[in-house]
Protein backbone atom coordinates (compact mmCIF):
# COMPACT_ATOMS: atom_id res chain seq x y z
CA UNK A 1 0.00 0.00 0.00
CA UNK A 2 1.17 3.48 -0.77
CA UNK A 3 2.53 5.51 2.12
CA UNK A 4 3.11 9.21 2.02
CA UNK A 5 4.99 11.18 4.63
CA UNK A 6 4.44 14.91 4.55
CA UNK A 7 6.53 17.42 6.47
CA UNK A 8 7.01 15.15 9.44
CA UNK A 9 8.72 16.69 12.46
CA UNK A 10 9.32 15.13 15.82
CA UNK A 11 11.13 16.27 18.90
CA UNK A 12 12.07 14.50 22.09
CA UNK A 13 11.94 16.60 25.21
CA UNK A 14 15.06 18.58 24.48
CA UNK A 15 16.23 17.46 21.11
CA UNK A 16 14.76 17.97 17.69
CA UNK A 17 14.95 14.46 16.28
CA UNK A 18 13.33 14.82 12.87
CA UNK A 19 12.74 17.95 10.84
CA UNK A 20 10.50 18.33 7.85
CA UNK A 21 10.73 14.82 6.46
CA UNK A 22 8.77 14.16 3.28
CA UNK A 23 8.93 11.16 1.01
CA UNK A 24 6.61 8.50 -0.28
CA UNK A 25 6.68 4.77 -0.71
CA UNK A 26 4.84 3.25 -3.65
CA UNK A 27 3.12 -0.12 -3.77
CA UNK A 28 5.53 -2.99 -4.31
CA UNK A 29 8.41 -0.80 -3.26
CA UNK A 30 11.06 -1.25 -0.60
CA UNK A 31 12.60 1.94 0.71
CA UNK A 32 15.75 1.71 2.78
CA UNK A 33 16.50 4.41 5.33
CA UNK A 34 20.21 4.96 5.81
CA UNK A 35 22.22 7.32 7.92
CA UNK A 36 24.74 7.50 10.73
CA UNK A 37 23.91 6.39 14.28
CA UNK A 38 21.54 8.80 15.97
CA UNK A 39 20.43 10.36 12.69
CA UNK A 40 16.77 9.55 13.43
CA UNK A 41 16.17 6.33 11.50
CA UNK A 42 14.46 4.49 14.36
CA UNK A 43 12.52 7.59 15.35
CA UNK A 44 11.25 7.94 11.80
CA UNK A 45 9.98 4.35 11.74
CA UNK A 46 8.32 4.75 15.14
CA UNK A 47 6.59 7.92 14.00
CA UNK A 48 5.25 6.15 10.93
CA UNK A 49 3.00 3.82 12.94
CA UNK A 50 2.44 6.26 15.80
CA UNK A 51 4.47 4.39 18.38
CA UNK A 52 5.70 7.95 18.79
CA UNK A 53 3.27 10.79 18.20
CA UNK A 54 4.59 13.16 15.61
CA UNK A 55 4.47 16.87 16.38
CA UNK A 56 3.95 18.19 12.89
CA UNK A 57 3.13 16.83 9.51
CA UNK A 58 0.99 13.91 8.43
CA UNK A 59 1.34 10.34 7.29
CA UNK A 60 -1.06 8.83 4.81
CA UNK A 61 -1.49 5.08 4.44
CA UNK A 62 -3.46 4.47 1.30
CA UNK A 63 -5.78 7.45 1.53
CA UNK A 64 -6.11 7.51 5.28
CA UNK A 65 -4.31 9.79 7.68
CA UNK A 66 -2.94 7.65 10.50
CA UNK A 67 -4.13 10.28 12.97
CA UNK A 68 -7.69 9.28 12.09
CA UNK A 69 -7.01 5.59 12.73
CA UNK A 70 -7.17 3.77 16.04
CA UNK A 71 -4.14 1.91 17.33
CA UNK A 72 -5.67 -1.38 16.27
CA UNK A 73 -6.51 0.16 12.91
CA UNK A 74 -2.89 1.10 12.41
CA UNK A 75 -1.77 -2.34 13.57
CA UNK A 76 -3.95 -3.99 10.93
CA UNK A 77 -2.21 -1.99 8.23
CA UNK A 78 1.34 -1.69 9.47
CA UNK A 79 3.64 -4.33 10.91
CA UNK A 80 6.66 -3.21 12.88
CA UNK A 81 9.86 -4.93 13.95
CA UNK A 82 11.73 -3.10 16.67
CA UNK A 83 15.48 -2.85 16.76
CA UNK A 84 15.69 -4.30 20.26
CA UNK A 85 13.35 -6.98 21.41
CA UNK A 86 12.52 -8.06 24.89
CA UNK A 87 11.98 -11.66 25.82
CA UNK A 88 9.85 -13.63 28.20
CA UNK A 89 9.23 -17.25 28.91
CA UNK A 90 6.90 -17.53 25.95
CA UNK A 91 7.22 -20.08 23.17
CA UNK A 92 8.24 -18.79 19.78
CA UNK A 93 4.90 -19.97 18.42
CA UNK A 94 2.95 -17.91 20.95
CA UNK A 95 5.24 -14.92 20.42
CA UNK A 96 4.52 -15.07 16.70
CA UNK A 97 0.83 -15.62 17.37
CA UNK A 98 0.82 -12.22 19.08
CA UNK A 99 0.97 -10.72 15.62
CA UNK A 100 -2.65 -11.79 15.20
CA UNK A 101 -3.69 -9.56 18.10
CA UNK A 102 -4.96 -6.69 15.92
CA UNK A 103 -7.23 -9.12 14.06
CA UNK A 104 -8.52 -10.99 17.07
CA UNK A 105 -11.78 -10.02 18.71
CA UNK A 106 -12.50 -12.59 21.42
CA UNK A 107 -9.99 -15.37 21.17
CA UNK A 108 -7.62 -16.82 18.65
CA UNK A 109 -9.29 -18.84 15.93
CA UNK A 110 -8.09 -21.80 13.93
CA UNK A 111 -7.27 -19.46 11.08
CA UNK A 112 -4.88 -17.46 13.27
CA UNK A 113 -2.99 -20.59 14.16
CA UNK A 114 -2.87 -21.68 10.52
CA UNK A 115 -1.49 -18.33 9.35
CA UNK A 116 1.08 -18.52 12.10
CA UNK A 117 2.05 -22.06 11.17
CA UNK A 118 2.37 -21.18 7.49
CA UNK A 119 4.81 -18.35 8.22
CA UNK A 120 6.80 -20.59 10.57
CA UNK A 121 7.12 -23.16 7.79
CA UNK A 122 8.07 -20.50 5.33
CA UNK A 123 10.86 -19.18 7.55
CA UNK A 124 12.07 -22.70 8.40
CA UNK A 125 11.46 -22.14 12.09
CA UNK A 126 9.66 -25.35 12.87
CA UNK A 127 12.36 -26.69 15.21
CA UNK A 128 12.37 -23.62 17.38
CA UNK A 129 8.63 -22.96 17.39
CA UNK A 130 8.09 -24.54 20.81
CA UNK A 131 11.23 -23.23 22.45
CA UNK A 132 11.00 -20.36 24.91
CA UNK A 133 12.10 -17.12 23.29
CA UNK A 134 14.29 -16.19 26.26
CA UNK A 135 16.46 -19.14 25.29
CA UNK A 136 16.85 -18.20 21.63
CA UNK A 137 19.91 -16.59 20.13
CA UNK A 138 19.76 -12.96 19.02
CA UNK A 139 19.29 -13.94 15.41
CA UNK A 140 16.59 -16.49 16.15
CA UNK A 141 14.71 -13.92 18.23
CA UNK A 142 14.94 -11.43 15.41
CA UNK A 143 13.43 -13.99 13.05
CA UNK A 144 10.62 -14.55 15.53
CA UNK A 145 9.90 -10.81 15.57
CA UNK A 146 9.91 -10.60 11.80
CA UNK A 147 7.57 -13.58 11.66
CA UNK A 148 5.29 -11.79 14.14
CA UNK A 149 5.13 -8.76 11.88
CA UNK A 150 4.35 -11.01 8.90
CA UNK A 151 1.45 -12.85 10.54
CA UNK A 152 -0.02 -9.43 11.19
CA UNK A 153 -0.72 -9.44 7.42
CA UNK A 154 0.15 -5.79 7.09
CA UNK A 155 0.09 -3.65 3.96
CA UNK A 156 3.15 -1.78 5.13
CA UNK A 157 6.15 -3.34 6.82
CA UNK A 158 8.32 -1.16 9.02
CA UNK A 159 11.57 -2.88 9.85
CA UNK A 160 14.16 -1.35 12.14
CA UNK A 161 17.44 -3.00 11.21
CA UNK A 162 15.80 -6.33 10.45
CA UNK A 163 19.09 -8.05 9.70
CA UNK A 164 21.17 -6.52 12.48
CA UNK A 165 21.95 -9.75 14.28
CA UNK A 166 21.41 -12.30 11.54
CA UNK A 167 24.07 -14.42 9.89
CA UNK A 168 24.57 -14.19 6.15
CA UNK A 169 22.23 -17.05 5.32
CA UNK A 170 19.42 -15.69 7.48
CA UNK A 171 20.01 -12.15 6.20
CA UNK A 172 19.62 -13.27 2.64
CA UNK A 173 16.66 -15.46 3.50
CA UNK A 174 14.79 -12.71 5.34
CA UNK A 175 15.50 -10.02 2.77
CA UNK A 176 14.53 -12.33 -0.08
CA UNK A 177 11.32 -13.16 1.70
CA UNK A 178 10.53 -9.49 2.24
CA UNK A 179 11.28 -8.86 -1.42
CA UNK A 180 8.96 -11.72 -2.46
CA UNK A 181 6.18 -10.52 -0.20
CA UNK A 182 6.47 -6.93 -1.41
CA UNK A 183 6.57 -8.00 -5.06
CA UNK A 184 3.73 -10.47 -4.83
CA UNK A 185 1.25 -8.62 -2.65
CA UNK A 186 -0.10 -5.13 -2.14
CA UNK A 187 2.62 -4.48 0.38
CA UNK A 188 5.34 -1.91 0.69
CA UNK A 189 8.24 -1.84 3.12
CA UNK A 190 10.40 0.72 4.83
CA UNK A 191 13.49 -0.55 6.56
CA UNK A 192 16.39 1.08 8.27
CA UNK A 193 19.72 -0.50 7.51
CA UNK A 194 23.36 0.03 8.25
CA UNK A 195 24.86 -1.88 5.38
CA UNK A 196 24.66 0.27 2.28
CA UNK A 197 25.35 -2.64 -0.07
CA UNK A 198 22.49 -4.64 1.38
CA UNK A 199 20.29 -1.62 0.85
CA UNK A 200 21.41 -1.25 -2.74
CA UNK A 201 20.89 -4.94 -3.38
CA UNK A 202 17.38 -5.34 -1.99
CA UNK A 203 15.78 -1.90 -1.84
CA UNK A 204 14.32 0.12 -4.68
CA UNK A 205 15.16 3.49 -3.29
CA UNK A 206 17.35 4.78 -0.50
CA UNK A 207 16.54 7.68 1.79
CA UNK A 208 19.67 9.17 3.36
CA UNK A 209 19.05 10.87 6.67
CA UNK A 210 21.54 13.12 8.41
CA UNK A 211 20.88 14.96 11.65
CA UNK A 212 17.14 14.44 11.43
CA UNK A 213 16.76 15.73 7.91
CA UNK A 214 16.59 14.06 4.54
CA UNK A 215 19.85 14.54 2.73
CA UNK A 216 18.99 12.71 -0.44
CA UNK A 217 16.53 10.24 -1.87
CA UNK A 218 18.00 8.20 -4.67
CA UNK A 219 17.49 5.08 -6.73
CA UNK A 220 20.33 2.63 -6.44
CA UNK A 221 22.10 3.72 -9.62
CA UNK A 222 21.90 7.37 -8.61
CA UNK A 223 24.16 6.98 -5.59
CA UNK A 224 27.30 9.06 -5.79
CA UNK A 225 30.55 9.20 -3.89
CA UNK A 226 29.58 12.73 -2.79
CA UNK A 227 26.31 11.63 -1.22
CA UNK A 228 28.05 9.05 0.94
CA UNK A 229 30.79 11.48 1.87
CA UNK A 230 28.21 14.08 2.93
CA UNK A 231 26.14 11.61 4.95
CA UNK A 232 28.77 9.46 6.59
CA UNK A 233 31.86 11.63 6.26
CA UNK A 234 33.98 8.89 4.70
CA UNK A 235 35.58 8.37 1.33
CA UNK A 236 34.35 5.46 -0.77
CA UNK A 237 34.72 4.12 -4.25
CA UNK A 238 31.85 2.77 -6.32
CA UNK A 239 32.28 -0.35 -8.41
CA UNK A 240 29.56 -1.32 -10.82
CA UNK A 241 28.35 -4.86 -11.20
CA UNK A 242 25.45 -5.29 -13.58
CA UNK A 243 23.59 -2.00 -13.30
CA UNK A 244 24.09 -1.01 -9.70
CA UNK A 245 27.07 0.01 -7.62
CA UNK A 246 28.95 -1.77 -4.86
CA UNK A 247 30.26 0.64 -2.27
CA UNK A 248 33.74 0.01 -0.97
CA UNK A 249 35.21 2.30 1.68
CA UNK A 250 38.69 3.64 1.08
CA UNK A 251 41.23 1.76 3.12
CA UNK A 252 43.19 4.79 4.38
Amino acid sequence: MRVEIRNLSFEYRLKQALRDISFSVAEHEIVAVLGPNGAGKSTLLKCMNRVLDLNKGSILVGNEDIKSLSRVGIARRMGYVAQRNETARLTAFDAILLGRHPHVKYGISKKDILVCNAIIDRLHMKELSLRYIDQLSGGELQKVCIARALVQEPSVLLLDEPTGSLDLKNQVEILRLIRTIVDGHDVSAVMSLHDINTAIHYADRIVFIREGQIHAVCRKNEITVETIRDVYGIEVTLHYTEDYPVVIPARY
Binding site: V51, R71, P102, E153
Partner: protein
Amino acid sequence: MHIDKAQFPAEYSRYIKKKIVFLTAGSVLLLVTILISVCLGSVGVPVFYVIKALFGANDVDKWNTILFNIRLPRVLTAVFAGIGLSVSGVAMQSLLRNPLGSPFTLGISQAAAFGAALSVMLLGTGVMRSTGSAAVNITNPYLTTVSAFIFCLLTTGVLMAISRLKRSSPMAMVLTGVALGSLFQAGTMFLQFFADDVQLAAMVFWTFGDVGRTNWNEFFIIMATVTVSVIFFVSQRWKYNALDAGSDTAKSLGVPVERVGIIGLTVSSLVTAVIISFVGIIGFIGLVCPHMVRRLIGDDHRFLIPGSCITGGIILLAADTLARLILIPHVFPVAILTSFLGVPVFIFLIIRGYKR
Protein backbone atom coordinates in the same frame (compact mmCIF):
# COMPACT_ATOMS: atom_id res chain seq x y z
CA MET B 1 -0.19 -13.64 2.45
CA HIS B 2 -1.11 -17.14 1.47
CA ILE B 3 -1.58 -20.03 3.76
CA ASP B 4 0.38 -22.41 1.60
CA LYS B 5 0.12 -25.59 3.55
CA ALA B 6 -2.94 -25.22 5.71
CA GLN B 7 -2.29 -27.77 8.40
CA PHE B 8 -2.86 -27.53 12.08
CA PRO B 9 0.38 -27.88 14.04
CA ALA B 10 0.00 -31.05 16.07
CA GLU B 11 2.92 -30.31 18.37
CA TYR B 12 1.44 -26.98 19.32
CA SER B 13 -1.88 -28.62 20.18
CA ARG B 14 -0.03 -31.11 22.33
CA TYR B 15 1.80 -28.28 24.04
CA ILE B 16 -1.45 -26.44 24.77
CA LYS B 17 -3.03 -29.65 26.03
CA LYS B 18 -0.16 -30.12 28.46
CA LYS B 19 -0.80 -26.70 29.97
CA ILE B 20 -4.50 -27.39 30.26
CA VAL B 21 -3.78 -30.68 32.02
CA PHE B 22 -1.54 -28.80 34.44
CA LEU B 23 -4.28 -26.28 35.20
CA THR B 24 -6.90 -28.98 35.61
CA ALA B 25 -4.67 -30.91 37.98
CA GLY B 26 -4.11 -27.70 39.93
CA SER B 27 -7.84 -27.06 40.20
CA VAL B 28 -8.44 -30.58 41.47
CA LEU B 29 -5.67 -30.14 44.01
CA LEU B 30 -7.28 -26.89 45.16
CA LEU B 31 -10.63 -28.60 45.66
CA VAL B 32 -9.00 -31.44 47.58
CA THR B 33 -7.14 -28.94 49.76
CA ILE B 34 -10.39 -27.13 50.49
CA LEU B 35 -12.06 -30.38 51.51
CA ILE B 36 -9.19 -31.42 53.77
CA SER B 37 -8.92 -27.98 55.35
CA VAL B 38 -12.59 -27.95 56.20
CA CYS B 39 -12.23 -31.29 57.99
CA LEU B 40 -9.12 -30.48 59.98
CA GLY B 41 -8.98 -28.39 63.12
CA SER B 42 -9.27 -28.60 66.88
CA VAL B 43 -12.48 -30.54 66.27
CA GLY B 44 -12.22 -32.96 63.40
CA VAL B 45 -15.17 -33.34 61.06
CA PRO B 46 -15.28 -36.53 58.97
CA VAL B 47 -14.84 -36.03 55.26
CA PHE B 48 -17.97 -37.94 54.30
CA TYR B 49 -20.04 -35.75 56.61
CA VAL B 50 -18.65 -32.59 55.01
CA ILE B 51 -19.55 -33.84 51.57
CA LYS B 52 -23.01 -34.81 52.73
CA ALA B 53 -23.50 -31.47 54.49
CA LEU B 54 -22.48 -29.50 51.43
CA PHE B 55 -25.28 -31.23 49.54
CA GLY B 56 -27.80 -30.32 52.21
CA ALA B 57 -27.92 -33.46 54.34
CA ASN B 58 -26.67 -31.86 57.55
CA ASP B 59 -27.99 -33.53 60.68
CA VAL B 60 -25.31 -33.06 63.35
CA ASP B 61 -25.74 -29.61 64.92
CA LYS B 62 -22.34 -29.38 66.54
CA TRP B 63 -20.57 -30.13 63.29
CA ASN B 64 -22.84 -27.82 61.35
CA THR B 65 -21.96 -24.88 63.54
CA ILE B 66 -18.27 -25.55 63.15
CA LEU B 67 -18.57 -26.13 59.45
CA PHE B 68 -20.79 -23.29 58.36
CA ASN B 69 -20.01 -20.60 60.90
CA ILE B 70 -16.30 -21.09 61.43
CA ARG B 71 -14.50 -23.27 58.94
CA LEU B 72 -16.14 -22.58 55.62
CA PRO B 73 -15.97 -18.78 55.73
CA ARG B 74 -12.37 -19.02 56.87
CA VAL B 75 -11.34 -21.58 54.28
CA LEU B 76 -13.07 -19.81 51.43
CA THR B 77 -11.67 -16.47 52.50
CA ALA B 78 -8.19 -17.98 52.43
CA VAL B 79 -8.80 -19.34 48.93
CA PHE B 80 -10.16 -16.12 47.47
CA ALA B 81 -7.66 -13.90 49.27
CA GLY B 82 -4.90 -16.13 47.88
CA ILE B 83 -6.35 -15.90 44.38
CA GLY B 84 -6.75 -12.14 44.57
CA LEU B 85 -3.30 -11.42 45.95
CA SER B 86 -1.66 -13.76 43.50
CA VAL B 87 -3.46 -12.47 40.43
CA SER B 88 -2.77 -8.85 41.31
CA GLY B 89 0.87 -9.81 41.79
CA VAL B 90 0.98 -11.24 38.26
CA ALA B 91 -0.59 -8.12 36.84
CA MET B 92 1.76 -5.80 38.71
CA GLN B 93 4.81 -7.77 37.60
CA SER B 94 3.71 -7.58 33.99
CA LEU B 95 2.55 -4.00 33.95
CA LEU B 96 5.49 -2.61 35.88
CA ARG B 97 7.85 -4.82 33.90
CA ASN B 98 9.47 -5.64 37.18
CA PRO B 99 9.75 -9.12 38.70
CA LEU B 100 9.41 -7.60 42.18
CA GLY B 101 5.95 -6.22 41.52
CA SER B 102 3.57 -7.02 44.37
CA PRO B 103 1.25 -5.14 46.74
CA PHE B 104 4.30 -4.32 48.85
CA THR B 105 6.17 -2.74 45.97
CA LEU B 106 3.49 -0.15 45.46
CA GLY B 107 3.18 0.70 49.13
CA ILE B 108 -0.40 -0.55 49.34
CA SER B 109 0.17 -2.91 52.25
CA GLN B 110 1.95 -0.25 54.26
CA ALA B 111 -0.86 2.19 53.55
CA ALA B 112 -3.41 -0.31 54.86
CA ALA B 113 -1.41 -0.83 58.05
CA PHE B 114 -1.24 2.92 58.55
CA GLY B 115 -4.97 3.31 57.96
CA ALA B 116 -5.74 0.61 60.50
CA ALA B 117 -3.34 2.09 63.05
CA LEU B 118 -4.85 5.50 62.56
CA SER B 119 -8.35 4.23 63.23
CA VAL B 120 -7.17 2.39 66.34
CA MET B 121 -5.49 5.54 67.61
CA LEU B 122 -7.93 8.27 66.69
CA LEU B 123 -11.24 6.48 66.58
CA GLY B 124 -10.46 4.14 69.46
CA THR B 125 -11.41 0.95 67.71
CA GLY B 126 -8.90 -1.24 69.52
CA VAL B 127 -9.60 -2.68 72.95
CA MET B 128 -7.94 -5.41 74.96
CA ARG B 129 -10.00 -8.43 75.73
CA SER B 130 -8.98 -11.82 76.93
CA THR B 131 -11.25 -14.17 75.09
CA GLY B 132 -10.10 -17.40 73.56
CA SER B 133 -7.90 -17.21 70.58
CA ALA B 134 -7.60 -13.48 70.10
CA ALA B 135 -6.31 -11.55 73.06
CA VAL B 136 -6.90 -8.24 71.40
CA ASN B 137 -10.13 -7.55 69.65
CA ILE B 138 -10.88 -4.78 67.29
CA THR B 139 -14.15 -3.43 68.71
CA ASN B 140 -15.33 -1.90 65.50
CA PRO B 141 -13.82 -3.95 62.74
CA TYR B 142 -15.70 -2.11 60.01
CA LEU B 143 -14.28 1.24 60.98
CA THR B 144 -10.75 -0.17 60.95
CA THR B 145 -11.38 -1.88 57.62
CA VAL B 146 -12.81 1.25 56.05
CA SER B 147 -9.92 3.33 57.28
CA ALA B 148 -7.39 0.84 55.91
CA PHE B 149 -9.24 0.71 52.63
CA ILE B 150 -9.31 4.50 52.30
CA PHE B 151 -5.55 4.69 52.68
CA CYS B 152 -5.06 1.91 50.11
CA LEU B 153 -7.17 3.89 47.67
CA LEU B 154 -5.28 7.03 48.49
CA THR B 155 -2.00 5.34 47.60
CA THR B 156 -3.47 3.99 44.38
CA GLY B 157 -4.80 7.45 43.59
CA VAL B 158 -1.45 9.12 44.16
CA LEU B 159 0.29 6.53 41.98
CA MET B 160 -2.24 6.98 39.19
CA ALA B 161 -2.07 10.77 39.44
CA ILE B 162 1.71 10.78 39.22
CA SER B 163 1.78 8.35 36.33
CA ARG B 164 -0.78 10.38 34.45
CA LEU B 165 0.74 13.73 35.28
CA LYS B 166 4.25 12.87 34.23
CA ARG B 167 3.38 10.02 31.85
CA SER B 168 5.98 8.23 33.86
CA SER B 169 7.61 4.90 33.21
CA PRO B 170 6.81 1.76 35.18
CA MET B 171 10.15 2.21 36.89
CA ALA B 172 9.07 5.61 38.21
CA MET B 173 5.89 4.02 39.51
CA VAL B 174 7.79 1.36 41.42
CA LEU B 175 10.01 4.00 42.94
CA THR B 176 7.03 6.15 43.88
CA GLY B 177 5.38 3.10 45.43
CA VAL B 178 8.45 2.25 47.46
CA ALA B 179 8.70 5.85 48.63
CA LEU B 180 5.02 5.98 49.61
CA GLY B 181 5.43 2.65 51.37
CA SER B 182 8.21 3.97 53.56
CA LEU B 183 6.25 7.15 54.20
CA PHE B 184 3.31 5.14 55.54
CA GLN B 185 5.64 2.91 57.49
CA ALA B 186 7.10 5.96 59.16
CA GLY B 187 3.58 7.20 59.83
CA THR B 188 2.65 3.89 61.46
CA MET B 189 5.76 3.99 63.63
CA PHE B 190 4.92 7.54 64.62
CA LEU B 191 1.47 6.45 65.76
CA GLN B 192 2.88 3.41 67.54
CA PHE B 193 5.31 5.58 69.46
CA PHE B 194 2.47 7.60 70.95
CA ALA B 195 0.07 4.69 71.43
CA ASP B 196 -0.67 3.15 74.82
CA ASP B 197 -0.20 -0.57 75.44
CA VAL B 198 -3.64 -1.59 74.33
CA GLN B 199 -3.61 0.53 71.21
CA LEU B 200 -0.16 -0.68 70.30
CA ALA B 201 -1.25 -4.28 70.73
CA ALA B 202 -4.29 -3.66 68.53
CA MET B 203 -2.21 -2.00 65.83
CA VAL B 204 0.34 -4.77 65.73
CA PHE B 205 -2.33 -7.42 65.92
CA TRP B 206 -4.13 -5.94 62.93
CA THR B 207 -1.03 -6.18 60.77
CA PHE B 208 -0.81 -9.92 61.42
CA GLY B 209 -2.82 -11.03 58.44
CA ASP B 210 -5.43 -13.56 59.47
CA VAL B 211 -8.10 -14.98 57.22
CA GLY B 212 -10.21 -15.99 60.21
CA ARG B 213 -11.50 -12.46 60.69
CA THR B 214 -14.18 -12.59 58.06
CA ASN B 215 -17.81 -13.56 58.36
CA TRP B 216 -19.98 -14.57 55.42
CA ASN B 217 -20.83 -10.99 54.41
CA GLU B 218 -17.21 -9.95 54.30
CA PHE B 219 -16.34 -13.10 52.44
CA PHE B 220 -18.91 -12.28 49.78
CA ILE B 221 -17.40 -8.82 49.29
CA ILE B 222 -13.95 -10.36 48.84
CA MET B 223 -15.29 -13.08 46.55
CA ALA B 224 -17.15 -10.65 44.30
CA THR B 225 -14.16 -8.32 43.96
CA VAL B 226 -11.74 -11.15 43.30
CA THR B 227 -14.02 -12.83 40.77
CA VAL B 228 -14.55 -9.62 38.80
CA SER B 229 -10.84 -8.87 38.79
CA VAL B 230 -9.88 -12.37 37.67
CA ILE B 231 -12.32 -12.10 34.77
CA PHE B 232 -10.83 -8.71 33.91
CA PHE B 233 -7.24 -9.95 34.00
CA VAL B 234 -8.06 -13.03 31.93
CA SER B 235 -9.58 -10.73 29.32
CA GLN B 236 -6.29 -8.82 29.21
CA ARG B 237 -4.11 -11.90 28.67
CA TRP B 238 -3.01 -11.14 25.11
CA LYS B 239 -2.34 -7.53 25.92
CA TYR B 240 -0.07 -8.56 28.77
CA ASN B 241 1.73 -11.00 26.49
CA ALA B 242 2.23 -8.16 24.03
CA LEU B 243 3.63 -5.95 26.80
CA ASP B 244 6.24 -8.60 27.49
CA ALA B 245 7.59 -8.01 23.99
CA GLY B 246 8.40 -4.40 24.90
CA SER B 247 6.20 -1.34 24.86
CA ASP B 248 7.08 -0.23 21.31
CA THR B 249 6.21 -3.62 19.90
CA ALA B 250 3.05 -3.75 22.01
CA LYS B 251 1.94 -0.39 20.63
CA SER B 252 2.67 -1.54 17.09
CA LEU B 253 0.39 -4.52 17.77
CA GLY B 254 -2.46 -2.18 18.64
CA VAL B 255 -2.20 -2.27 22.43
CA PRO B 256 -2.77 1.11 24.10
CA VAL B 257 0.14 0.58 26.48
CA GLU B 258 -0.41 3.48 28.89
CA ARG B 259 -4.13 2.87 29.26
CA VAL B 260 -3.73 -0.87 29.77
CA GLY B 261 -1.11 -0.16 32.42
CA ILE B 262 -3.13 2.36 34.37
CA ILE B 263 -6.35 0.37 34.30
CA GLY B 264 -4.59 -2.87 35.21
CA LEU B 265 -2.72 -1.32 38.11
CA THR B 266 -5.88 0.32 39.39
CA VAL B 267 -7.76 -2.96 39.35
CA SER B 268 -4.97 -4.84 41.07
CA SER B 269 -4.60 -2.13 43.70
CA LEU B 270 -8.34 -2.24 44.37
CA VAL B 271 -8.39 -6.01 44.80
CA THR B 272 -5.42 -5.86 47.11
CA ALA B 273 -6.99 -3.03 49.07
CA VAL B 274 -10.22 -4.98 49.60
CA ILE B 275 -8.42 -8.14 50.68
CA ILE B 276 -5.88 -6.50 52.95
CA SER B 277 -8.50 -4.32 54.59
CA PHE B 278 -10.51 -7.37 55.62
CA VAL B 279 -7.81 -9.87 56.49
CA GLY B 280 -4.75 -7.77 57.31
CA ILE B 281 -1.39 -7.88 55.67
CA ILE B 282 -0.40 -11.15 54.07
CA GLY B 283 2.96 -10.95 52.45
CA PHE B 284 4.67 -12.86 49.69
CA ILE B 285 1.63 -14.57 48.16
CA GLY B 286 1.47 -11.84 45.52
CA LEU B 287 5.19 -12.08 44.88
CA VAL B 288 5.98 -15.76 45.18
CA CYS B 289 3.01 -17.58 43.67
CA PRO B 290 3.31 -15.94 40.26
CA HIS B 291 7.03 -16.73 40.19
CA MET B 292 6.42 -20.37 41.06
CA VAL B 293 3.96 -20.62 38.19
CA ARG B 294 6.28 -18.74 35.84
CA ARG B 295 8.90 -21.38 36.52
CA LEU B 296 6.49 -24.22 36.02
CA ILE B 297 4.57 -23.16 32.93
CA GLY B 298 6.20 -19.98 31.63
CA ASP B 299 5.12 -16.38 31.20
CA ASP B 300 2.24 -16.92 28.78
CA HIS B 301 -0.56 -15.03 30.50
CA ARG B 302 -3.20 -17.33 29.05
CA PHE B 303 -1.94 -19.96 31.49
CA LEU B 304 0.00 -17.84 33.94
CA ILE B 305 -3.08 -15.97 35.18
CA PRO B 306 -5.27 -19.00 35.94
CA GLY B 307 -2.20 -20.89 37.17
CA SER B 308 -1.34 -18.14 39.63
CA CYS B 309 -4.92 -18.00 40.86
CA ILE B 310 -4.90 -21.71 41.62
CA THR B 311 -1.46 -21.66 43.23
CA GLY B 312 -2.31 -18.60 45.30
CA GLY B 313 -5.47 -20.26 46.57
CA ILE B 314 -3.72 -23.52 47.41
CA ILE B 315 -0.74 -21.95 49.15
CA LEU B 316 -2.63 -19.47 51.30
CA LEU B 317 -5.15 -22.12 52.26
CA ALA B 318 -2.47 -24.69 53.05
CA ALA B 319 -0.51 -22.15 55.08
CA ASP B 320 -3.64 -21.16 56.98
CA THR B 321 -4.60 -24.75 57.70
CA LEU B 322 -1.10 -25.39 58.98
CA ALA B 323 -1.35 -22.23 61.07
CA ARG B 324 -4.56 -23.51 62.63
CA LEU B 325 -3.08 -26.91 63.40
CA ILE B 326 0.41 -26.30 64.77
CA LEU B 327 -0.65 -24.65 68.04
CA ILE B 328 -4.08 -26.23 68.72
CA PRO B 329 -6.17 -24.79 70.33
CA HIS B 330 -4.46 -21.52 69.46
CA VAL B 331 -4.64 -20.13 65.97
CA PHE B 332 -1.46 -18.80 64.56
CA PRO B 333 -1.77 -15.81 62.18
CA VAL B 334 -1.26 -17.10 58.65
CA ALA B 335 0.82 -14.10 57.56
CA ILE B 336 3.71 -15.34 59.67
CA LEU B 337 3.70 -18.69 57.88
CA THR B 338 3.39 -17.25 54.38
CA SER B 339 6.56 -15.28 54.93
CA PHE B 340 8.35 -18.33 56.26
CA LEU B 341 7.22 -20.06 53.12
CA GLY B 342 7.96 -17.09 50.91
CA VAL B 343 11.48 -16.17 51.84
CA PRO B 344 13.16 -19.52 51.02
CA VAL B 345 11.40 -19.69 47.67
CA PHE B 346 12.37 -16.15 46.95
CA ILE B 347 16.01 -16.75 47.81
CA PHE B 348 15.94 -19.87 45.66
CA LEU B 349 14.70 -17.71 42.78
CA ILE B 350 17.54 -15.28 43.31
CA ILE B 351 20.14 -18.04 43.41
CA ARG B 352 18.70 -19.64 40.31
CA GLY B 353 19.06 -16.23 38.66
CA TYR B 354 15.55 -16.28 37.32
CA LYS B 355 15.27 -13.85 34.49
CA ARG B 356 11.94 -12.41 33.60
